[in-house]
Amino acid sequence: MGVGHIHGQDIDAHAGLDSWLHRWEPRLKIAAGTIFVVGVVLLKSLPLAAAAFGLAALAVFSAGLPARFLAGRFLWVLPFLSLMFITLALGNGLPLSAAGLSFAALVCLKALTAVTVMVALLGTQPLQALFSALAHLRLPPLPLTALFLTYRYLFLFRDELHAAQRSLAARAFRPGLDRRSFRAFGELTGTVLLGALDRSERVHRAMSARGFEGRLPAGPARAVRGADLAKGLVSVAAVVLLVVLDRGLPI
């Protein structure tokens, strides 16, 4: 047993580059990216889903994000997708089911396209800029503040957990799959949670003392320029076109 990491490269590791995606105003980028993903989910044809994937990948590469970076972000969905591929292809035994295979391929393409769009969306500005864009989207302020605070405290609790693990190791604790290990990690979990609960009281007092009333101050929103709108229109038009072609509607 052990404690993992909030691993992988940070999503904003390449936020410092300069490209059309990096220059795109984050609020419009969020809206356009979300619409694109919804459109992709609607697709039923394999070639059109492949085209959507191609477009998304093209966007990521044109922004200068490395292919390795994108592939690293795929790691999270791959276990599920490979399990699905194997069970859909072999679930009925041999021979392989062609319909199952093409369905699995469609689902995989859509899932990978969605991740690619999210990388294009999230990887092209610092996370901080993304949070402040969200604050300017007129979302309910309290849950948004909660999201930001949660993010802030992740790293503190992670360090706490790692420190606890080091002190366990320093006391010659060898984790295994036995009762003692489960007890140690169960009680460690309880302690971290209690610590968080107690700390939240202090954090609340400190925040109230500084005038917190539920809304964190965010800087002024970036102005929306014509180029931002044009990029939004083009990406939405692209996905609408794909969906229209998919449904076989006359254009």
């Binding site: 999503i11 999270w76 997708l81 199952g100 605070l149 992740l154 957990l161 799959l177 169960g186 949670l193």
Partner: protein, 203 residues
């Protein structure tokens, strides 16, 4: 426990999003500024606790701690689950955008129910109560997930080694880990903060 974009059919995605909106509304209703630090810090702590890795054969599983989320946060548990899902999407692109609603139901409903079940079970010894709450929350979460998959495409239920069967079997180690960790955690809480895991004050 995450369903990626494209896996569920469009009607299921839509219906789940609407239902999840309702759950979120119930969970966030009457939210005040003073509740925000508690929910956020606990959501962060739960997020980080799922970094604990337990090796099982060639792979490893991590606890989800749905039962404990319900115990600590009560009615606010689905909101905390939602924060965790959003952060996973933001930081790792894990979980999907269109399936946020489905994923919230998969994990938020069991957490909420586990929180409600705890005071009812207060006569059960704490370790067993924790193991039951933690274990049943996972069973329920897998059941909701299977429900969505089966509704979405018949392929997922095709044949003796269908995705649904294999997936359910894959969650057995998670069930065991979750039950064991929650059991020990609740036993500790019973000793140091009994009002949290049974009767008494609950915010």
């Amino acid at each position: 426990m995450h369903i990626a974009d494209g896996v569920l059919s469009v009607p299921v995605v839509g219906a789940a999003a609407v239902a999840a909106g309702g759950l979120l509304w119930y969970s966030a209703r009457g939210l005040k500024a003073e509740d925000v630090p508690r929910i956020s810090l606990l959501a962060g702590a739960f997020f980080v606790s799922s970094l604990i890795r337990v090796p099982v054969g060639v792979t490893s599983v991590h606890p989800v701690l749905l039962g404990l989320t319900g115990v600590f946060l009560g009615r606010r548990a689905p909101l905390a689950v939602f924060l965790g899902l959003l952060l996973q999407a933001l930081l790792f692109q894990h979980g999907g955008l269109t399936t946020l609603g489905a994923n919230l139901l998969i994990m938020g409903v069991p957490a909420l129910l586990a929180g409600l079940a705890f005071p009812v079970l207060r006569r059960v010894p704490p370790a067993l109560r924790g193991a039951l709450g933690g274990g049943l929350a996972v069973v329920l979460a897998v059941a909701v997930m299977v429900f969505f998959l089966v509704l979405s495409a018949e392929y997922y239920l095709n044949g003796p080694f269908s995705l649904v069967y294999v997936l359910s079997a894959a969650y057995l180690p998670v069930l065991a880990v979750e039950a064991a960790l929650t059991g020990f955690a609740v036993r500790l809480l019973q000793r140091v903060r009994p009002e949290l895991v049974g009767s008494g004050r609950r915010s």
